[in-house]
Amino acid sequence: MASLLQPDRVLYLVHGEKKIRSPLSTLYFCRYCSELRSLECVSHEVDSHYCPSCLENMPSAEAKLKKNRKRICNQLNENFRCANCFDCPCCMHTLSTRATNIPAPLPDDPSKTAMKKAYYLACGFCRWTSRDVGMADKSVASGGWQEPDNPHTQRINKLIEYYQQLAQREKLERDRKKLARRRPYMPLAFSQHTIHVVEKYGLGTRLQRQRPGAPITSLAGLSLKEGEDQKEINIEPAQALDEVEPLPEDCYTRPINLPEVTSLRQRLLQPDFQPAGASQLHPKHKHLLIKRSLRCRKCEHNLSKPEFNPTSIKFKIQLVAVSYIPEVRIMSIPNLRFQKECQVLLTLTNPVENITHVTLVGCEEGDPEDINSTAKVMVPTKELVLAGKDAAAEYDELAEPQDFQDDPDVVAFRKSNKIGFFIKVVPQREEDGDVTVSFKIRHDFRNLAAPIRPSEEGDAPAEAIWLTHHVELSLGPIIA
């Protein structure tokens, strides 16, 4: 029976650029627009970077300015990789540092040996160790491990500087043209996120809007200060060679040593070396993960903002739909029979603290939102009243139970802020597949967000507006 509580049995329709049907637990509610929002109609922004194993934080703004601009290639590396933690090159698990005792001669007296600690990196999952690739044991527990240098670093740095200059020049020219048309009230943070013209070395408007942290936009942001002379950077074009290194003579006859061959995934995770042999697989620093914040695209308010501290899972702002919209859940389904009326028990939960009035309305013929239903549904016509959510109710013995005078044909049970009610379903199609019904749920919502304009005459701040949502339920197959 737990399968009836699965979130994807009950879907709410979101009106956005695309009509998305999704369970209430995955949706957000913008209380300024008073509308449901799904993950596809909000803009995702990077809040901060953190390492998943050592939980060290690195805010994005600081990360960009951290290192000397001359070593740009390494800078981009260190932006998004942790300084202390390593990934196993073989299975991508996090490496742990292990210690062994080795006898080492004392510095004062070479004839005596003392036990010194030597540290090496080891993977607990695939048992890879740093000794497998010939990395010597270090005498310090952390900070001694270096990634090998890329022989092409200099050339890549030069190319990046050249293209960065080019991108800046083009951006300046474009900004000069756009100056007259730029909207004055758009916040500065946004001009980096919503770039309306395709940049030549950028990724296109839509992609740029979804990933504002992409390297090309961050390069454009690192601009030289206005009065500095812009050094002309010239690059030599790449030279094509006629002669290529010949293959080794035993290329076709040498038997393959399979454990030594790296897999594609192992190879491509190290794009600067792409080693073909497992004995050249060096560990890389661990990639950072991001904390992201969500923003409504219409009113630019934040819908979800996590806390800064990586060890905290709480949110500073968390406007999730389940805390504002009453949730419909399926409680029990009888055997569904073709063209026979069945009674399904649903529950409705009130997430807010004040009393909510809910009316259910069936979908009319030709409703453009009603595309998936395969059965006729008769919903209760009377208004359902839901009590407010009261966290202290179970401890308060003296409180009188509120009397709502429920119609026993409609309301099966009532328990604090939840009621169970019946709907009648007549499956219309005999085919395989789930019986799907849909209806509209209309409820009152008190907006507790601060009004933009101060209300005159001191109105009560909570004015109810009525919201309507389209709900689809998947009731399972017909049992013949």
Binding site: C91, F125, C126, W128, T129, P259, A278
Partner: protein, 194 residues
């Protein structure tokens, strides 16, 4: 400390002196256990289709199952079936919940938790079979192989896993304080063949 011998004559377990075998473990059939081997409570060593010979320094943890069973298509009562001996070498570790039916296991292997070795595999030395990996291919696993991951990927490691001497010493001291042990035979024992 020793409480009772297990099984009948001719099919009793020969537990060498120095082995620590908890009485809550289930040992059925003709099983020989070498010295310095530790068998935890709730481990099961079942010699159905032939004897099992376990070497020294092995560590068999809780709910591990080492079973010498009949091949699937042969009934236990069929005549003319040769009993095959299962041999397990020294310094092996059978972690919690693993199942091993492999007939030949060498030295210094580690069979991690909930791993499943079928009848057709033969482990050499220094192999590590990762947690939850099921291996039933008809092959001899080369030395120092590590089998890991949900797809049973393999790689070769450069050094074999160390014998768990510290852990064995610790257990041999502590286990008798909390559990009763099975009775050991004095001196070396030779396996009894049917």
């Amino acid at each position: 400390i020793p409480i009772k011998p297990s099984g009948q004559k001719g099919t009793c377990a020969n537990i060498a002196a120095g082995a620590v075998v908890c009485v809550e473990s289930e040992i059925r059939g003709d099983v020989t256990i070498g010295p310095r081997t530790v068998v935890h409570p709730k481990a099961r060593i079942i010699a159905e289709a032939g004897p099992i010979i376990i070497g020294e320094g092995n560590l068999i943890e809780e709910q591990a199952l080492i079973i010498n069973s009949y091949p699937e298509n042969i009934l236990p009562d069929t005549e003319g079936v040769e009993p095959k001996t299962m041999t397990i070498g020294i310094n092996n570790v059978f972690e919690v919940g693993c199942v091993s039916q492999a007939l030949k296991i060498g030295d210094n292997n580690v069979i991690e938790s909930k791993a499943d070795l079928g009848k057709n595999v033969i482990l050499t030395s220094g192999c590590i079979v990762g947690a939850c990996c099921q291996v039933n291919t008809c092959e001899v696993i080369p030395e120092n192989t590590v089998i890991y991951g949900s797809n049973c990927m393999r790689r070769v490691q450069t050094e074999r896993p160390q014998p768990q001497t510290l852990q064995l010493d610790f257990l041999m001291k502590i286990l008798p304080n909390y559990h009763h042990m099975k009775k050991t035979v004095k001196g070396t024992s030779t396996p009894v063949r049917n």
